[in-house]
Amino acid sequence: MPAAIEASTEMQMKKILNSRAARKLLAVLLLGIPAALGACGGNGRPTHGITPQVEPVAVESIVSVEKRPLLSGTTELVIPEAAVFHRGPLAGVYVVDSEGRAAIRWIDTGRSVNGDVVVLGGLDAGERLVGNSSVQLEDGMPVKLQVSESKEAVPHE
């Protein structure tokens, strides 16, 4: 059973693969063997470098969550309304992490003001989002900015 092999090799490999460099080297050697994927996942953070690179999805814009001061002295977070997609009653955005990977985040939204919407929960100021949520993305998909559409650079490995 492949799953069982995966589990058993995992233990032995973990002992050898105690450094990230060694892990990468070994994974390159074993590339294509599904066991390599399973072997490296269990130890610490998921090691993205090993998965065969999926072609990044081009998105029109990447925006960041803005903090806006209010008259009352408090602040509120706003994002463009276009960044929000809906699934029934759920509202979600695609958050782009420092490695350029998208992840779905469910958020709570408040009022909308001139094409912006107030975020009540689920996002921090400064987080980067895919600006147009009409694209279909899955968790972990790499995204890149379509050149010339926006000047904002996206660090991407």
Binding site: A7, E10, E76, G88, L90, L120, G122, D139
Partner: protein, 1073 residues
């Protein structure tokens, strides 16, 4: 020779035609009983635990505590049978948990509690509402979870589907509660529009009232006409959104104002109250990295029902519904099936049982030939068949504890048959008598000591019934099952074995004609070993010295921590949970985000097959959650992650090791967001609040918390202590709106009106239900401000209340005048009052932790922390001395008591220790009765401490914990070792009665009895080997194997020598006479 009972029985049955019929009947009923006995994973534990919720709206925790919790607790303690009373006073309500003593009748306890509750209702302060009482029982734990998830549908649609399925499932017999976790209900939301309300001069309060009034229908009566009765009904229920939209709520400018004019009415999902998602793990083989909205349907079973049968029926039914009720874009995944795991467990144990029997048979075959082995091979299943029948008749279920009892006795139940068969075999080969006579003589010779020996073993295990507390129900099937099996095995040995032996064992032809004991290997061996020891005082002294040293060496391993004590090791389960607590006041989306990030890590763990996370709603509870009240985890700052692992057979590591491995990474993620994540495994024994619990008592709450902080710091600094938490909530900001009474009065607005209006605007108010025909969940009509309009205090400015006008007697304003709320209230920030915990009438603060890594046994972690806690200096120069067994007698100074697993460990080892002492006395009495000597039993019981020589180093070599099961093994071994001595000394006395000299009698006895002793001990050892691989029963196996081998060897040498020393004087007297 006197035949005795044994000989008489053998004579009766050895040639009877009824014997084979009895055998056949026994096996048949056994098979039927095995089929019919319900199978389940956990033993049926009746711990009458009752939760009582007493609502006291508006009261602060301190008020709830003083006026509701305390008086009620005091009255509850008067009820006989109450073991513990816990209470938690929270804002608005009190939760009192009453735990009755284990074994108390549930219904009787409930009645007692209810009557006490009612009796005291008149003493409760006004405002206390009707209490809610809920029994907590093991059968509330769902046995089957089906997760409905979909790539296209949203939580609202999925919930509707699963609701429909749940309704259909209820028809299955023996099904218990069917619940739905996650998803969103259908709701009619009346979203108020502030500007419109103001323009049309309508208040929120008015709308709710109008909806309630419009939603009524009544049978008004009837009248007669033309000889028939005509029923008159009036009014109409609200049946659709249109009905709701068209309710008239007021009049403005001579025109009616409809709800649709002032509010948006939406029929659809309720506001998002939870996020539950499903995702595949690395081990599932699915490439799918997405996670999908999920709703979990949980199925519990009725008491006494077979979990596996029920699960099978439910799954079959759900399969049928696919395509019709369940649309093709909703996938149903089994995320828990205790029926399957129970069956698997039962069959694994039965397989182990079979392997044990075969192994024992092979050992017997080595000594007695295959025919002798066959005799034993047949008699064991008959014994178990009868035991299983008794289980069925006594309404036991087949679970891991009852089956464990059987495996535990496998090695012991063959012994009686072995002893009898061996002796028949020996007599046949002696050829002194004709075959039939030889068989009967053989049975008579060992029959009576066998009966005695059987009763000594029963005497050894039976006192375990008296283990009290939560562990009692886990333990009691064992001594009962084992004792029953022993009695049956004795009967089989006396009835069936002679019949089988007479037919199966052949008289060997050829060889020596006359049996001569002096020519056997055993005789020569014992002559060589025992003679010098018997003859030479110094050698004897040396031998005792060596044995004494071995014993001391073994015992010293425990204080050296080479062998650690632990109550029960973790079992290898297919699941664990992550319990995430974010600081109080965290938004649901933030909690769900952290849960998602932890899940994203967990899915990469190679053994994880799937996971579900539930934010804002509790995950389906397991046995642990039942006792820990995890079903109350429904706040926005809490999330549960259910992690399912590959089945045991398909992974290398045990679930506990996996849990230990992921712990640090999971906690790192949680800590990044200031959360606290705990990895919770299903405990092998009774569940407790946490493995390590420090209960902190003190005269005031400030002092308690100050001490708790120190203790928590000690916990966090101690290596091996993980998942540290305390039951003190974080500061949560509360905006308190103080009503300005003068202004309110001058405008004719009552405080109640303000409170109601605020509640309606923010929290929403259910104004009734929609009377639709085809919805299984009630569809509530909720009046509330839209989400966008209630995000800050600023939004409150647009909310109005209506003046009551002259009617209020305090104003001259016109009734119905709209007054802005912001004019009437003053905003104050404050910190939410914290929950107050009490246990057994004392205020307590809990600090909890688990152990993993550096130390796996809480006892050692506690001892280490004990030292540090003693050094804590409290203000006022106090220092504290943690208590171990009972709470402090006085509350005038801070104190601390250890609880959690320790409490159960302490109770179990205390009761087992007492049981062991009682065992020794009973065994002593039994042997005194038999041998009519006060001295002989003492000689026989020397073998008992000798087993420690094997047991403790055995644990050391295996690197195992000395657990409760090890202790059980040790107790049982005491019985077995005494039996060996009984057989040995009984034969010495028989030989001496025949006029043989003491030394010769001893050597001969050792020689003759070695074979059955080695055989029976060998059976115990071999029968236990299979248990070595079970995480829980490993300790028992080690005790039986190592203790069995070493004490058998030592018994064969030490007991004869001690007997010689004791009897030497009498012997010379006899010789002189």
């Amino acid at each position: 020779m006197n035949e005795g009972i044994a000989g008489k029985l053998a004579r009766q049955f050895i040639n009877s035609k009824i014997t084979p019929l009895l055998m056949l009947a026994a096996i048949l009923v056994g098979i039927i009983a095995t089929m019919m006995t319900p199978r389940e994973e956990e033993p049926q534990i009746v711990v009458p635990m009752v939760d009582i919720y007493i609502p006291y709206p508006g009261a602060a925790p301190s008020e709830v505590e003083e006026r509701v919790a305390k008086p009620f607790e005091r009255s509850v303690t008067e009820i006989p049978g109450v073991d513990y009373v816990y209470s938690t006073s929270m804002p608005d309500f009190a939760l009192v948990t009453v735990r009755f003593k284990v074994g108390e009748d549930t219904e009787a306890s409930m009645v007692k509690l209810w009557s006490t509750l009612l009796k005291n209702m008149d003493r409760m302060p006004p405002g206390v509402q009707m209490p809610l009482m809920k029994k907590v029982a093991i059968d509330d734990v769902p046995v089957l979870n089906l997760t409905f998830w979909s790539k296209q549908k949203d939580p609202f649609q999925i919930r509707k589907t699963s609701r429909d399925v749940a309704d259909l499932l209820k028809k299955i017999p023996n099904i218990g509660d069917v619940e739905i976790k996650g998803g969103l209900r259908r709701q009619v939301r009346v979203q108020l529009q502030k500007e419109m309300l103001q323009r049309y001069n309508v208040s929120a309060f008015q709308i709710a009232r109008q909806i309630q009034m419009a939603n009524s229908r009544m049978t008004s009566g009837n009248f007669r006409q033309d000889n028939s009765e005509i029923v008159v009904q009036s009014g109409n229920f609200l049946e659709s959104v249109d009905d709701v939209s068209n309710i008239v709520v007021g009049v403005n400018g001579g025109l009616p104002v409809y709800i649709k004019d002032v509010a948006t009415v939406i029929d659809g999902p309720e506001e998002v109250s939870n996020y539950s998602f499903f995702g595949w793990g690395a081990a599932s083989g699915a490439k799918d990295r997405g996670e999908y909205p999920a709703v979990t349907l949980t199925v519990a079973k009725r008491k006494g029902a077979d979990a596996s049968v029920l699960a099978g029926k439910v799954i079959a039914q759900v399969d049928q519904l696919k395509g019709s009720v369940i649309p093709s874009d909703i996938t149903v995944t089994e995320t828990r099936n205790y029926g399957e795991t129970a069956t698997e467990k039962v069959f694994t144990l039965l397989e182990h049982l079979f392997i044990a029997i075969v192994a024992v048979t092979i050992v017997v075959a080595l000594f007695l030939g295959w025919r002798g082995a066959l005799v034993n091979f047949v008699s064991v299943p008959i014994t178990f068949a009868l035991t299983l029948l008794v289980y069925y008749l006594f309404h036991y279920s087949l679970n891991r504890v009852t089956l464990f009892a059987l495996i535990f006795v496998t090695g012991i139940v063959v012994d009686d048959s072995i002893i009898i068969a061996e002796n028949i075999h020996r007599h046949f080969s002696m050829k002194r008598q004709p075959k039939l006579q030889a068989a009967i003589t053989a049975v008579s010779e060992v029959g009576n000591p066998t009966i005695l020996a059987t009763f000594t073993v029963i005497a050894a295990v039976l006192p375990m019934v008296f283990v009290s507390g939560l562990m009692g129900p886990y333990m009691s099937p064992m001594p009962i099952g084992a004792s029953l099996a022993m009695i049956f095995s004795l009967m089989i040995a006396l009835i069936v074995t002679p019949w089988l032996s007479y037919r199966l064992i052949k008289v060997e032809h050829g060889g020596h004609d006359e049996y001569d004991i002096t020519k056997t290997v055993y005789y020569r061996l014992f002559r060589k070993v025992l003679s010098p020891l018997l003859d030479n005082g110094f050698m004897r002294f040396l031998a005792f010295g060596i044995v004494g040293l071995m014993l001391a060496g073994a015992v010293i391993l425990i204080p050296m921590k080479a062998v650690q004590l632990k109550m029960l090791p973790f079992d290898n389960k297919n699941e664990f949970q992550v319990i995430l607590d974010m600081p109080e006041g965290t938004a649901l989306e933030e909690t769900s985000r952290v849960a998602k990030e932890i899940s994203a890590y967990l899915r990469t763990v190679p053994e994880v097959s799937s996971y579900q996370y539930y934010a804002g709603v509790n995950a389906p509870i397991n046995f642990n959650g039942l006792v820990r009240h995890y079903y109350l985890r429904q706040s926005p700052n809490m999330a549960d992650i259910q992690v399912n692992l590959l089945p045991k057979g398909e992974r290398k590591e045990q679930s506990h090791d996996i849990a230990r491995r992921v712990r640090a990474d999971v906690q790192k993620i949680a800590l990044k967001y200031n959360g606290n994540a705990k990895i919770v495994e299903i405990p092998p024994g009774p569940p407790v609040l946490s493995t390590i619990v420090a209960e902190i008592y003190g005269p005031s709450r400030q002092q308690q918390i100050a001490l708790a902080k120190e203790v928590r710091k000690v916990f966090q600094e101690t290596p091996g202590v993980v998942d540290v938490d305390w039951l003190v909530e974080d500061d949560q900001k509360v905006v308190n709106l103080q009503v300005n009474k003068e202004r309110a009065a001058l405008r004719g607005v009552s405080a109640e009106q303000i409170a109601q209006t605020l509640r309606m605007s923010l929290g929403g108010m259910d104004a009734g239900v929609l009377h639709t025909g085809n919805d299984k969940d009630p569809v509530t009509i909720q009046v509330r401000l839209p989400r966008a309009d209630r995000t800050s205090l600023k939004d409150l400015s647009g909310i109005f209340v209506q003046s009551l006008g002259m009617g209020s007697l305090t104003t001259r304003l016109r009734a119905g005048e709209m007054i802005p709320l912001s004019e009437l209230v003053r905003v104050e920030d404050k910190i939410q009052d914290k929950s107050i915990y009490r246990k057994d009438l004392r205020n307590v603060v809990y600090v909890t932790a688990d152990v993993a890594g550096a130390t796996e046994s809480p006892v050692y972690a506690m001892l280490e922390m004990d030292r540090k806690i003693k050094q804590i200096k409290l203000p006022g120069g106090y220092s504290i001395d943690p208590l171990y067994t009972a709470p402090p007698s006085k509350e005038d100074r801070p104190a601390m008591k250890w609880d959690g697993e320790w409490q159960i460990t302490f109770e179990v080892f205390r009761d087992l220790g007492t049981a062991f002492a009682v065992v020794l006395v009973i065994i002593y009495l039994l042997i005194v009765g038999w041998f009519q000597s006060f001295k002989t039993p003492l000689i026989m019981m020397i073998a008992i401490p000798l087993s420690l020589v094997g047991i403790i180093p055995g644990h050391f070599f295996h690197g195992a914990f000395f657990t409760a099961t090890s202790m059980i093994g040790m107790i049982a071994l005491a019985g077995i070792m005494v039996r060996n001595s009984v057989l040995l000394i009984d034969f010495i006395q028989i030989r001496r009665d025949e006029g043989i000299e003491l030394k010769q009698a001893i050597i001969e006895s050792a020689a003759v009895r070695t074979r059955p002793i080695i055989l029976t001990s060998g059976a115990v050892v071999i029968g236990s080997v299979i248990m070595l691989f079970d995480p829980i029963f490993q300790g028992l196996a080690i005790s039986m194997i190592w203790g069995g081998v070493l004490s058998t060897v030592l018994t064969l040498v030490v007991v004869p020598i001690v007997y010689y020393i004791a009897e030497r004087k009498n012997a010379t007297n006899v010789g002189a006479r």
